[in-house]
């Protein structure tokens, strides 16, 4: 893949001290923008991507040639209307779409970092992306928005920079990764590490990638993004291009074939080590602990108007965990709205065409934008 021509990079020349203790400097942050920044510079939205997303949120992703991960929500005339707003999205550090990550070259030995790359956190990701505000000379964002790990970044951003965004929309996320979340991520990591090709993370030297492990990680994770009901309705026990069971370990069932396909296309666009690093960042995320067990304290200095959204069938980041954020904000009298959207599509709902969800975002953004004086 020749990414260099298609990826916009901001080289961050200020040292960034990571939570792990290491400091990084002169590192690339890959980003993309949609729409136009207006004269007042007050229409900018920073969108944060989830675990396997990247900076190409809308339109056609120039690397994968597929639609951007948030094409349902983001674009001209869409819920996040790029005719009206200027949307910035960056690839998280640790990622593999041009930002500083484990496949970058380690200057010490001129080889890819692999697992010598420092462990990063959601806090580190957000601190790196903050430089985009300076780069675009934006004093205050209109909104920060994101689902899943993107929502965690929204929470961390508002906590770190309390008055740098007028509004915030954390979607289908949590303030603290649960044991179940960590367990599922560990399953994915172990599947990558169990692939012989992984070679302790230095696979790029051997030119053999741990594709099988990464594909299994994706398959397992994909199940967690859907709901039982959604799976049952879409696949049930339908057979894959056959009239009867084959009494073998072929993909007899459509759901098996579907998951295998999801795994196989994923490895073409994602790096196994990035998967390890980003899932680790999610697992380490505990905003409540950062504030000694009192989540409200994370938002004490903030004047940001929050709108929190969860989905009925999301069992990965269930309504109760989203509601905990609402409760923390109400406990200190902050401006917070909350809606639980009915959807059978599970955690993935935030990426899909769910009209109630998209309308809620559209209405919240547009009425909030017009209200300002």
């Amino acid at each position: 893949m020749n990414k260099t021509e298609k990826v916009k990079n901001l080289i961050i020349d200020k040292p960034l001290k990571l939570d792990c203790g290491k400091t990084i400097v002169n590192f690339p942050l890959a980003y993309e923008t949609y729409g136009q920044l207006n004269e007042k510079r007050d229409n900018a939205i920073l969108a944060f991507h989830a675990l396997t997303g990247d900076q190409f949120a809308a339109e056609i992703n120039p690397i994968t040639k597929k639609e951007g991960w948030w094409s349902n929500a983001l674009g001209p005339g869409k819920a996040i209307d790029t005719n009206k707003y200027f949307v910035i999205c960056a690839n998280v550090i640790g990622g593999c779409m041009g930002s500083y990550g484990p496949s970058n070259i380690n200057p010490e030995n001129s080889k890819p970092f692999g697992t010598n790359f420092p462990v990063i956190t959601i806090n580190d990701m957000v601190n790196a992306q903050y430089h985009l505000l300076e780069f675009f000379k934006i004093d205050k964002l209109f909104s920060v928005v994101g689902g899943s790990m993107g929502g965690m970044q929204v929470l961390q951003f508002v906590s770190n920079f309390p008055n740098k965004s007028r509004t915030a929309i954390p979607i289908a996320c949590t303030a603290s990764h649960s044991a179940q979340n960590i367990a599922l991520n560990e399953l994915g990591r172990q599947s990558i590490m169990a692939d012989h090709n992984w070679s302790n993370g230095f696979y790029e030297e051997n030119k053999k990638l741990p594709d099988k492990g990464l594909a299994v990680a994706r398959m397992a994770a994909h199940i967690t993004y859907l709901s039982k009901k959604g799976l049952q309705e879409k696949f049930g026990r339908k057979l894959q291009e056959r009239d009867d069971l084959k009494f073998s370990f072929d993909a007899d069932f459509q759901i098996e074939s579907y998951l295998r396909y999801q795994g196989s296309v994923f490895v073409d666009r994602f790096d196994a080590n990035s998967y390890l690093y980003i899932t680790r960042a999610m697992d380490y995320f505990d905003l409540t602990k950062q504030f000694n067990g009192n989540l409200s304290k994370a938002f004490e200095k903030s004047e940001t108007k929050f709108f929190i959204i969860s989905f009925t069938s999301d069992w990965l980041y269930p309504t109760s965990e989203n509601r905990d954020i609402v409760i923390a904000l109400n406990a200190i009298g902050k401006d917070v709205g909350f809606a639980e959207i009915t959807s059978d599509k599970g955690h993935d709902s935030f990426l899909l065409d769910v009209p109630d969800f998209l309308n809620a975002i559209k209405n919240f953004l547009n009425t909030s934008y017009n209200k300002k004086i």
């Binding site: 108007k305 709108f307 509601r323 609402v326 409760i327 109400n330 406990a331 009298g333 401006d335 917070v336 709205g337 909350f338 809606a339 639980e340 959207i341 009915t342 109630d356 309308n359 809620a360 209405n363 919240f364 009425t367 909030s368 017009n370 209200k371």
Partner: protein
């Protein structure tokens, strides 16, 4: 409906902090937002109504008044409004206590079961009253705890809740709706 809004709105001081519990589609909130104070938010259980509030640009929290009021600290609002939903709660007494805990003052409105038309309906027809304010039949009404203006006044007296109680006995017969401003 508008008349009720006017009366409620007049009870609220300009620029105070308000929570509308069971805010429905946000009509009353919108009226107060446009005329009295911008610092208003709602709590609403119906997803459909939550969407309508968001459309209107109002801050709304999806939730259940019987469970979700406890997240608000003591006296965190100048006024807490409960408009015509008290009778639909499983435990209205608990809800009243919560309103008075989180609000410095509470504005409670109830459909008055002591209204003369309601009394006449039961007296003459011998069936459960159905009026414009109480449109449901006994088998499908959401109203679990109907009361009269006098009942509510007696309750407040018993629990030592301060109530604006001018002429309530007269209103108990001639008002379809009771509107109370109460405080601890």
């Amino acid at each position: 409906m508008k008349k009720e809004f006017n009366i409620i709105a007049k009870l609220i001081k300009k620029n105070s902090k308000v929570l509308d519990v069971g805010c429905g589609d946000g009509q009353l909130m919108k009226y107060i937002y446009e005329n009295i104070t911008k610092d208003i938010r709602g709590l609403e259980i119906s997803k459909n109504n939550v969407q309508k509030c968001i459309e209107k640009g109002l801050t709304v929290i999806e939730g259940d008044a019987e469970k979700d009021l406890k997240q608000f600290p003591i006296s965190s609002f100048d006024y807490v409004i409960l408009s015509q939903t008290l009778q639909a709660f499983l435990d209205p007494e608990n809800v009243i206590n919560e309103l008075l805990r989180i609000g410095k003052k509470a504005i409670v409105t109830i459909p008055n079961f002591g209204y003369w038309k309601v009394r006449m309906h039961l007296l003459l027809k011998g069936t459960m009253p159905v009026t414009s304010n109480l449109p449901n039949e006994w088998y499908n009404t959401p109203n679990l705890h109907m009361c009269t203006i006098k009942d509510f006044k007696n309750y407040c007296n018993k629990k030592k809740i301060k109530i604006n109680s001018s002429n309530l006995n007269f209103q108990n017969i001639f008002s379809e709706l009771g509107i109370f401003l109460i405080e601890k």
